[in-house]
């Protein structure tokens, strides 16, 4: 478990939390709106806990004070736009990946990280129950979203030391049972280089902080 891997985890959570929060008030129905807003708060809180571990004196500066090239999230998490099916599919693929990552944290030699991971793990079980219920309900209508999200999801594993096969063993049978065809694709890598969606996200996410970095929020 390296600091770089922990930073990647914190950045993943922050970007997903931000993207989920963009649905507040705009999701297709009110229950989805409540759920996505709550998911966003959870992911943001997990990010905050990890940034605090990495930089106890100034977690905000770590979260919002870096240049775009210094962020280490996977491309899956920066994708924006108003595609609800994509958001649902992304959340599921990511939350199963995260379950694996939390196990990695729980096995680390860092007691503070293990304590945070323990807490994350208890909250995340609600994410997976919710994700699975939505995926099952929407079924094969999610095929275009899955086709788009799949190669990006494969890119989650870059540099994490986690085994993609372990994740596939969970998601492939479930996706198949929901009537979806798992695409064949190469992973889209990019934890160190980000696309145009991130430029927009970064401006939105960090603009207020950068306007006065000395302020305590």
């Amino acid at each position: 478990m390296t600091e770089e891997q922990l930073l990647a985890a914190a950045d993943d959570e922050l970007m997903l939390g931000h993207r989920d929060s963009e649905w507040t008030g705009l999701a297709p129905h009110v229950e989805a709106d409540v759920a996505l807003s709550s998911l966003a708060q959870d992911e943001m809180a997990h990010a905050a806990a990890l940034y605090t571990l990495l930089s106890p004196a100034d977690p905000d500066a770590l979260a919002c004070g870096r240049e775009p090239t210094a962020y280490r999230h996977a491309p899956l998490l920066e994708v924006g736009g108003r595609d609800f099916a994509f958001s649902v599919t992304r959340q599921y693929l990511y939350d199963i990946f995260e379950e694996q990552r939390i196990r990695q944290f729980l096995g680390s030699g860092w007691p503070e990280l293990r304590a945070i991971a323990e807490r994350m793990s208890r909250e995340e079980k609600y994410h997976r129950m919710h994700d699975r219920a939505l995926m099952a309900a929407l079924g094969d209508r999610l095929q275009p979203a899955l086709n788009r999200a799949w190669p990006l999801a494969l890119g989650l594993f870059e540099g994490t030391g986690l085994a993609e096969a372990e994740w596939r063993a969970v998601v492939v049978p479930e996706l198949t049972a929901w009537g979806l065809i798992v695409p064949e694709a190469e992973p889209v890598l990019g934890r160190t280089q980000h696309g145009p969606d991130f430029e927009e996200l970064w401006n939105d996410l960090t603009g207020l902080f950068r306007s006065d970095p000395s302020r305590h929020w």
Binding site: V34, R114, A115, E123
Partner: protein, 142 residues
Amino acid sequence: MTEQQAYDALARVMDPEIPTISIVDLGMVDEVRVHASHVDVALLPTFLGCPALDLIEEAVQKAMPGAVVTFRNDPPWSTDRITEAGREALRQFGVAPPEDVVRCPRCGTEEVLSENLFGPTRCRSIYYCPACRAPFEAFKAI
């Protein structure tokens, strides 16, 4: 001030979002140390990054002037730490306490429907009780 007096003071500090339950009954108090000059209070946040922590810290300081409040994640808080009195206080507020089986806090039936695993705050889910013909919230079991 004795340790008992400190706990009595903390028992009057209510959760800002569920004002019928104290932080003692929520199981948030991990350690109290009484010194000649002040009291150290170590609290366990219920949810990671819970936005109510600043309010709770202020309320503790109001109940016990000069108290030094710290938050720690180890040991991890869990809903198992909520006391029996705390569970009753949740029901009084209309929130089903965290249990393996969710029961309507009004009539007690287990015949309830899950409406949304998420709710108005991060710690609560939304259910519907057909017998009472009314929705209710349940504390997530974490």
